[in-house]
């Protein structure tokens, strides 16, 4: 039976986390993986979902879906599950995916588990991250239909499959699904999105002011990284809230997290503890962040960071 995957677009581009979700679905299925895409998509990227493991793409090529309206997406995905008679839906966790999945789970009478970090076992027991990454739970989805929202890094992205055929999908959406109106949207463009990034460079109060963020951005640029910040920095409006990494901000799970001038309060650590490698640069040798780090540098950020940027440029 087909495993359905909700593939999310960001400004018409397939999100990398969604391609990971396709790979996840192909690993848990016998190869019958249907990717559902809602909204207008740029170029030939949809058939390339086959590379990641999709056997078919259902595309609702309707600009009505270009804004991620939670209720409308939920209705369309429930209809896709019915149409394909699929018992399981996989999606990548995001600020849209999880709220949508919650509604689909009620429409379809399905079990839903979020923050999934590994493939399910034969009894549909999955490992999920809890206590903001400080622990994990092994949870069984007890209903016949199952929805899994996966965290970044749950699988290694597969990119060796064939192209997938695209089929038109016309969900019978109703006006009531569009009861919430989008008035406007502000979004940074051309930058690596923080939750999707493989490398994150974050700055804290140790940087002394927003005018000093240039060196953070320079280092991020040579690394192809996203930039983040600590809570005090976003509270003081040095940086926007969507860059705030931590317990009450964005939780990241990059391969490399570089923390500059951040002392490492437990609430900040909760947002980064899923990182594979952590580099801490701080002038205070007693900063608690060093206890969570793989590599530590005791030194003045204003001296050390430009040197690191140059060293990485030289070695790349």
């Amino acid at each position: 039976m087909a495993v359905l995957v909700f593939v999310e677009l960001s400004d018409g581009e397939v999100k990398k986390s969604s391609r990971e979700a396709v790979t996840y679905a192909s690993a848990m299925s016998n190869g019958d993986v249907v990717a559902v895409v809602l909204g207008t998509a740029a170029g030939d990227q949809l058939k390339k979902l086959g590379n990641n493991g999709a056997s078919k793409v259902l595309h609702a090529n309707n600009p009505k879906f270009d804004q991620g309206v939670i209720s409308a997406y939920a209705s369309a995905l429930a209809e896709a599950m019915q149409k394909t008679q699929s018992d399981s839906l996989v999606l990548a966790e995001s600020s849209l995916g999880n709220p949508v999945a919650a509604r689909v789970s009620i429409k379809m009478d399905a079990s839903l588990v979020t923050n999934v970090v590994a493939l399910p076992d034969a009894h549909f027991n999955v490992k999920r991250s809890i206590y903001t990454g400080k622990a994990s739970a092994h949870t069984t989805l007890t209903k016949d239909k199952k929805i899994l929202s996966i965290k970044k890094g749950a699988v290694i992205l597969k990119e060796d499959g064939a192209e997938a055929p695209i089929e038109n999908f016309n969900p019978s959406i109703e006006d009531s699904d569009f009861g919430v109106k989008q008035v406007s949207r502000e979004k940074t463009t051309g930058k690596v999105l923080l939750p999707e990034a493989d490398i994150v460079v974050s700055g804290g109060r140790g940087l002394k002011g927003p005018e000093n963020w240039g060196m953070i951005e320079d280092l991020a640029e040579v690394l192809g990284a996203a930039t983040g910040c600590s809570k005090p920095v976003s509270d003081m409006d040095w940086r926007p809230h969507h860059e705030h990494v931590g317990q009450t901000g964005i939780k990241v799970a990059p391969t490399l997290y570089i923390a500059i001038g951040i002392s490492g309060a437990i609430q900040h650590l909760a947002g980064v503890n899923q990182s594979k490698y952590i580099v801490v640069i701080n002038k205070d040798a007693d900063a608690p962040f060093f206890k969570a780090a793989d590599y530590g540098v005791v030194g003045d950020a204003f001296e050390v960071v430009p040197k690191l940027t140059e060293a990485i440029k030289a070695i790349k």
């Binding site: 939670i70 600020s95 999880n98 709220p99 999945a101 919650a102 509604r103 009620i106 079990s111 839903l112 588990v113 979020t114 923050n115 809890i130 206590y131 903001t132 990454g133 622990a135 994990s136 739970a137 092994h138 949870t139 069984t140 007890t142 919430v180 109106k181 989008q182 008035v183 949207r185 502000e186 979004k187 463009t189 999105l193 490398i199 690394l223 509270d235 926007p240 809230h241 969507h242 317990q247 009450t248 391969t255 437990i266 609430q267 503890n273 594979k276 490698y277 580099v279 780090a293 793989d294 590599y295 530590g296 540098v297 005791v298 040197k307 690191l308 060293a311 990485i312 030289a314 070695i315």
Partner: protein
């Protein structure tokens, strides 16, 4: 304006996380429990909205008797009455069903809660409640204004935010900076003791998941201290294989 605020009773963010009974239960010993930080934002916004336009705030928790001090704290912050649904909150669908059962007959204008609990981080109860009641649900919301029955909200999206308009009733999952956390004052604490706290039993018992065990992540290896940035770049390239 009639507001329902759903709160969780969770370990303080600085708690040491450990499990007991063969890794089948959370180890409560020495742990201080608080209102979930995101729920605290929801409650604070509810109090501000009530100050602006009047109305009432009911605070609800699905939990056993141990959660009552947490509900009393919410009453001290400014809720008018409290409901405790006497059951363990082990499953998001179960919790959402209980909230929807209460809300079905009460006609709340707004149902507020945190974007997620900080214990299980599920982030799905608001969406489930919205769907069960057939009304919109929006999360994670950083700004919420209400005027003439229309809510204007800012919802965080990856790399930015969107501004939305929706008619009430509405379910909202809240996060900062929707409001400033409120600290109860002495008068609030005194009056909280006499505010009504109703205990009701769960009316449905269906769950969608069952957690079988818990575990902790492996210990971090020893840190390597580096002075020379060329050496750090080399380690990142050769040891961590990042560059």
């Amino acid at each position: 304006m009639k507001i329902l605020v759903c709160i969780t009773h969770v370990p303080d963010t600085t708690s040491r996380i450990a499990f007991t009974n063969n890794n089948s239960e959370f180890d409560n010993s020495g742990v201080q429990f608080v209102i979930g930080p995101y729920d605290d934002y929801a409650l604070a916004r509810a109090v501000e909205l009530k100050e602006q336009m009047g109305g009432s705030i009911t605070v609800l928790n699905v939990g056993e008797a141990v959660t009552e001090p947490t509900l009393r704290k919410a009453l001290a912050i400014g809720a008018d009455d409290a409901i405790r649904i006497n059951a363990r909150a082990d499953d998001s669908f179960f919790v959402a069903s209980q909230i929807a059962e209460v809300a079905k007959t009460e006609n709340y204008d707004l149902i507020l809660m945190g974007r997620e609990s900080i214990d299980f981080n599920g982030g799905m109860v608001h969406g489930m409640v919205g769907e069960l009641l057939g009304i919109p649900s929006l999360s994670p919301v950083m700004k919420l204004e209400v005027e003439n029955g229309v809510a204007t909200l800012a919802r965080e999206i990856e790399g930015g935010k969107e501004i939305l308009e929706a008619l009430l009733p509405l379910v909202v999952g809240c996060q900062e900076p929707i409001a400033e956390w409120k600290i109860p004052n002495m008068r609030g604490i005194m009056t909280a003791r006499s505010k009504p706290l109703k205990v009701i039993e769960a009316t449905t018992h269906s769950v969608a998941t069952k957690t079988t065990s818990y575990d902790l992540p492996p210990e971090k290896g020893a840190i390597k201290m580096v002075d020379d940035m060329k050496e750090l770049a080399r380690l990142l390239k050769e040891e961590a294989k990042i560059l």
